[in-house]
């Protein structure tokens, strides 16, 4: 596991900064809720008049005066998008960066098979996404317990699971990009942000609804989770399928690639 540990060591500062930044933002969002609550009913009236815009952000049928609903929406924007961008940046550099910076020549002339190196790098990617989510979920839950609002813990756990899966899918897609492109940063950010807007677009009109199958932001949408106490299985299945294809493509590509 030498390569795995080296990857974690090399990226520990970035991981610390990202986890810290997202955790602090979420904790602030949580801590201000008791003060925001009185204003929330006014906001609800406003949102009711915005029609499709609140649909777009998955905010219809939500009551912001309830903590769980408030958190599901805010959390979606902060952890969902922030975590997805972290996963994209990390994933897209995993293989391609070594080629771009010519360190591939060092690593791949050691007696380790390419499959082994790619696998250890993939595990390092998964581990870092999991660590970020564990830190953020832990901090959020402590803050939630501290403000003493009524909360549905089952829904909260489900949402953190959904965001973790969302970020992993983005990470896997970007890992695949990384096996093909030396510098995939643009493509990686494009995937993360593109998927986010794809979900908004799919919420806007009934015609665009099938697009929800493509984006992992669909199964992480708070309103569905609160209503059903579950993630939507169809969306999850498509996401899992895309992830498997992306990872398999990365391994196949790297098996024979000229470095």
């Amino acid at each position: 596991m030498t390569v795995f540990l080296q990857e974690l060591r090399r990226n520990r500062l970035a991981l610390l900064i990202w986890s810290g930044a997202i955790a602090v933002m979420l904790v602030i969002t949580i801590v201000i809720f008791p003060e925001m609550k009185p204003q929330m009913s006014e906001m609800e009236d406003m949102l009711a008049n915005m029609g499709s815009l609140s649909d777009a952000f998955g905010m219809s049928n939500m009551s912001f005066a309830r903590f769980t609903d408030y958190f599901a929406t805010e959390c979606g924007n902060v952890l969902g998008l922030g975590g997805a961008i972290f996963a994209a940046i990390l994933g897209v550099g995993m293989l391609g960066k070594e080629e771009r910076e010519h360190t591939a020549e060092f690593l791949y002339t050691h007696p380790l098979s390419r499959t082994r190196i790619v696998l250890e790098k993939l595990l390092a990617l998964v581990a870092q996404v999991v660590i970020l989510n564990a830190v953020v979920a832990g901090a959020s839950m402590i803050a939630t317990a501290a403000i003493g609002e009524e909360v549905d813990w089952g829904v909260m756990v489900l949402m953190f699971v959904a965001y973790l899966l969302l970020e992993l899918e983005i990470a896997f897609l970007c890992f695949c990009v990384s096996a093909f492109l030396k510098n995939g940063m643009g493509a990686g950010l494009g995937i993360a942000i593109g998927m986010y807007f794809l979900n908004i677009l799919a919420n806007l009109t009934e015609d665009a609804k099938p697009l929800k199958y493509l984006t992992p932001f669909a199964f992480a949408e708070g309103s569905y989770i609160i209503e059903n106490h579950a993630l939507k299985a169809e969306y999850l299945a498509v996401g899992a399928g895309l992830s498997v294809i992306a990872v398999a493509a990365a391994f196949l590509r790297y098996h024979k690639k000229d470095l």
């Binding site: 390569v3 010519h102 591939a104 020549e105 791949y108 002339t109 050691h110 007696p111 098979s113 470095l259």
Partner: protein, 291 residues
Amino acid sequence: MKAIQTNQLTKYYGKHRGIEHIDLSVEEGDFFGFIGPNGAGKSTTIRTLLGLLTPTSGSAAIFGKDIVGDKLAILSDVGYLPSEAVFYNGMRVKDLLAYSAKLRKKDCRQEAASLCERLSLDTNRRIGELSLGNRKKVGIVLALQHKPRLYILDEPTGGLDPLMQQEFYQILRERNEEGATVFLSSHILSEVSRYCRHAAVIRSGELLVSDSIENLGHTGVKRVSLQGVSAVPDIPHISSTSFSDGCARFLYSGDQTELIRALAGLSFTDISITDPDFEEVFLHYYTKEGQ
């Protein structure tokens, strides 16, 4: 046993030629120079041998093991120095050396310490702060610290000062005397003629010649200089001509009795016919078929 044996080894990058039909043979225990101008295919050959590139056709074996099928066994036996010594900039030298040793599952601390001492390399520095020459030294220690059976060194001395070059070749000689094989690519002919026992010349992706340094030097080519003539004489098979102050100089690669016959008809005040030095011979190989 052959340390390196290639059989019609060919590598194309898409439609671009890398190397074509290379038949190279290096005996175990040899000190072998691989010579050619920039872009001739030296690095392509080396990177293919190490499994970084997949051959387009042909095959190759290192210590009898196939470079595609037995890659891992080969890589354990090889120490490789890339021509561009680039490593993880944020790492300290000692951490990088330890990382490499760990990837090889070997304890190389003692050997690494002795090599760093001899090359005066400060292991507490970060890679990113090092000069080109010092980065090269890091590469050398990485290639040597695990005491492999075969050293594959791609333009090893670029960036090293003359004293360090000498120390580096001294270390290589010691390793060679202990039985290891050294295979180095270079375009610096003097260092190849000084240290190597055999050499091969590659140009435009093709292997031109492979022989002992002695035989390569005796190609039948003669350097001729004539004093007291008015121009370079018109004789077939001459090249590298120059003329100044009544002195004509050229290389002659034809039949030697023909040369004497042709010279007999000229008037000159002084003549010398010598063997060209090693560099001239190789420049001759470099340019011969390109003309």
